[in-house]
């Protein structure tokens, strides 16, 4: 395969480079195991704000400015502006003096990052190994992809075209066996030049030699120092003695040189696509009742489910955004108890419940459906007999989901016993335990014998011989109510509970079981600290 662009290397450079360099091993393998394609976005700032620039009325000339130490400075501009004499690093006032009609846009780092990720995302079609090199580079390992795409040249042409179509980004590419070398080549290539391609590691040092040092993005002072020594290209650096170079410029730069020439390996962090689903639909005419809104969302849900099915993923949450004419956006968030795959009916059912209790401020013009992060689908053995479904608690998550969609999250909960003396602290609200591993290790011993564990820790003074489980009421009042005990008959007690000094809600109470005139049994207590001892409280019913 022909190299894409063969850079002519001055013959004088070669012998000097072949001078044995310490640390260089025997002849490197001619076919490297990896080939790294670097994507450099030379006009990242402009490209990231291209949409904003297009939206400007009259298409004025545009420059991107950023706040630096000494005021706003032009960081990037398009060719027309460049032709008028505006240069990067120029102050905004100077640029405006040169070009009075200039429109300035503030640099947006977030959009730049988004564009870079979009490029990486798109690149995943060409290779599974993609790595980000912020702020403006993406690396792909393409050794295995070359054959598929018909060679390096074809690959580069297709990649560049696809990236431009998908993201609007102009790119410069280079392929070499070392990631860093690829980046350097991609950064310094002249605009419009063909992509650099180095196949063998041995060639690397020679081909890198003519590159100016700017491409390495080393600290400015170092580059300046090297410049005063007459060292202006990568080749000049390679010719310097290693220990001297390390002393003058730091070990990091020497390591960078080693990585670029393929002497040292460079592990790259893989880019993981954070894929989400988003789709929108304009409603014509506008919809003002929630029932019809459910129907309008159905195609979007179908689309989401197709999206999930294709990828074999599922979602834990979805969001519906309703856009109105003037009123602010209405968001409806739906969280599922268990990750949901491609189940349009299930989602539609939950959404209907949720929309049913929604009050629309205005008719809806436009709906958007967004998915939360995608989760890998967990393959689960399906029960053969419907009979077993209830046992495995498989229906419960759906039930909880449906109830929560209408009643809210807090309205549905489970219970748990807590080993505590204070009655109000001896239980708490918990998330219902779903799924098969439902036997939660409970602080309570198994509820076989009534009373076991409930009173084991409390120093009951009475009722030890009796069925102690009966000494706790089935209904416990949230807040004890003052109560009149004059017509009550005391059956059990007192049971003294004195505890909780450590968290500021300490109690010292004498509990009694009392019976009322209608045969009702109450759990009443008197505060021990209450000097008079006249204040009685009702704390529960033995229902």
């Amino acid at each position: 395969m022909a190299p894409l662009a063969r850079r002519r290397v001055t013959p004088a450079l070669h012998p000097s480079l072949s001078v044995p360099v310490p640390g260089r091993g025997p002849a490197a393998q001619s076919r490297p195991r990896e080939l790294w394609l670097a994507i450099h976005l030379p006009a990242l700032m402009l490209d990231s704000l291209r949409d904003a620039a297009r939206a400007l009325p009259g298409q004025p000339p545009v420059a991107i400015v950023d706040l630096e130490r000494n005021g706003k400075v032009v960081r990037a501009c398009d060719e027309a502006v460049h032709a008028a004499g505006v240069r990067e690093g120029m102050s905004i006032n100077a640029a405006l003096a040169l070009l009075p009609g200039l429109h300035t846009l503030a640099r947006d780092a977030r959009r730049e990052r988004q564009l870079l990720e979009a490029v990486a995302q798109r690149s995943l079609r060409f290779s599974p190994r993609v790595s980000l090199e912020p702020p403006d580079g993406v690396l792909l390992e393409v050794r295995g992809s070359l054959r598929l795409f018909g060679g390096a040249r074809q690959l580069c042409v297709r990649l560049q075209q696809e990236l431009f179509d998908a993201t609007g980004a102009t790119t410069r590419l280079a392929i070499t066996p070392a990631p860093l070398a690829s980046l350097w080549f991609a950064r310094c290539g002249p605009p419009g030049a063909r992509s650099a391609f180095v196949r063998n590691r041995e060639e690397l040092a020679g081909r890198l030699a003519p590159l100016p040092l700017d491409c390495a993005r080393w600290p400015e002072r170092t580059v300046e120092t090297l410049g005063t020594m007459g060292v202006r290209t990568v080749g000049d650096c390679l010719r310097l003695p290693r220990d001297g170079f390390a002393r003058r410029c730091g070990k990091e730069l020497l390591a960078a040189l080693d990585r670029a020439t393929g002497r040292a390996q460079e592990p790259r962090a893989a880019f993981a696509a954070s894929e989400r689903f988003a789709a929108r639909r304009d409603l014509e005419p506008e919809i003002d009742d929630t029932a019809r809104l459910g129907f309008a969302l159905a195609p979007l849900l179908d689309e989401l489910c197709r999206f999930l099915r294709e990828r074999g993923r599922c979602v834990q949450a979805i969001e519906v955004q309703l856009r109105h004419r003037e009123a602010p956006l209405t968001r409806v968030r739906l969280r599922f108890v268990q990750p949901v795959g491609a189940q349009p009916q299930h989602m539609a059912g939950l959404l209907r419940e949720r929309l049913g209790r929604l009050v629309l401020p205005q008719p809806v013009r436009n709906v958007r459906l967004l998915s939360g992060p995608l989760i890998d689908l967990q393959a689960d053995a399906v029960e053969l007999f419907a009979h077993d479904r209830r046992e495995s608690g498989e229906n419960l998550p759906h039930l909880v989901e449906r109830l929560r969609a209408r009643l809210g999250n807090a309205a549905v909960h489970g219970l748990e016993c807590v080993p505590e003396h204070r009655p109000e602290a001896a239980w708490r609200i918990v998330e219902p335990v779903m799924g098969r591993g439902r036997k939660r290790p409970s602080p309570q011993p198994s509820p076989g014998k009534p009373g076991e564990g409930v009173l084991a820790a409390s120093h009951a003074t009475a009722g030890e011989s009796r069925d102690e489980g009966a000494l706790r009421p089935l209904w416990l009042l949230d807040v004890p109510e003052p109560c009149d005990v004059r017509r009550l008959v005391f059956e059990e007690g007192p049971e003294c509970i004195e505890s909780g000094w450590w968290d500021g809600r300490d109690v010292a109470r004498d509990y009694y079981v009392a019976r009322g005139g209608q045969g009702e049994r109450l759990w009443v207590f008197r505060n021990r600290r209450d000097a008079g001892g006249t204040g009685w409280f009702l704390h529960g019913w033995f229902a």
Binding site: H387, L399, P432, R440, S442, P450, E468, W475, L476
Partner: protein, 237 residues
């Protein structure tokens, strides 16, 4: 010909409701109900226990007279049944004084699903429930005031719960009817707690019990019992 009709009657004895037959006799032949754990009450109920299908209404105005204790032995049996693999066929005891839980039918096997408490007047107290033998980890509390019937309906249809208890007073006969239909088609025990006053209006429920507390203990009046007869039982304290 008449003999074959007799045979058919014998075969379908559990599905047929024969008004003449006293509940006890039928119960002895085929204990279709879920034992209540109260022997005196079992005797008066057709099927010798809580009906497994259909809505049960418990009418009570007073708190603390034992309105929950009435139900807890059966709930505990449902929980217990889940833990210990139920023996099938269940030991048939001709003695009507069978303990709650010993006569669970095969469809109850592994049915120790959840117990849903929909809109209870107070939060059920977990330690007391545990002491009564109820698996607290399988209790689902739903606070849905105003939508109790809907939530109960959902819980019944989901088949996730072995029992669904609700506190509401549906004024709409349609809502009651829907609830009864859901309870009829579900395998869950469906119990609706209503005020005593509701006993004056008709209801499609299978069983309606009115509870009255008193110095002698809990008095259970069977207001309506499909296949059974009105009766009054005193369960003591």
């Amino acid at each position: 010909m008449s003999a074959s009709v007799e045979e058919l009657l014998q075969q379908n004895s559990t599905r047929l409701w024969r008004a003449r037959e006293p509940g006890g006799a039928q119960a002895a032949r085929a204990p279709t109900g879920l034992p209540t754990g109260h022997v005196a009450l079992d005797r008066c109920l057709p099927g010798a226990g809580w009906p497994r299908q259909g809505l049960i209404e418990i009418l009570s105005d007073q708190r603390g007279i034992g309105e929950l204790r009435l139900l807890l032995p059966a709930l505990a049996a449902l929980c217990r049944d889940e833990g210990a693999a139920a023996v099938y066929p269940p030991p048939r005891s001709s003695d009507a004084r069978c303990q709650a839980g010993s006569a669970l039918l095969p469809q109850d096997r592994g049915s120790g699903g959840w117990v849903a408490w929909v809109s209870p007047p107070y939060c059920p107290y977990a330690p007391a429930l545990a002491a009564w033998g109820i698996d607290v980890t399988r209790v689902l509390v739903v606070q849905g005031a105003g939508t109790t019937e809907w939530a109960m309906d959902q819980a019944l249809r989901s088949e996730a719960c072995s029992a669904v208890l609700g506190w509401a007073n549906p004024r709409d006969p349609q809502a009651l009817r829907r609830l009864q239909l859901a309870a009829e088609s579900s395998r869950s025990l469906a119990v609706l707690y209503r005020p005593l006053q509701a006993g004056l209006t008709p209801s499609p429920a299978v069983l309606r019990l009115a509870l009255l507390g008193g110095s002698e203990g809990l008095q259970v009046r069977i207001v309506k019992s499909r296949g059974g007869r009105p009766a009054t039982v005193n369960l003591g304290h």
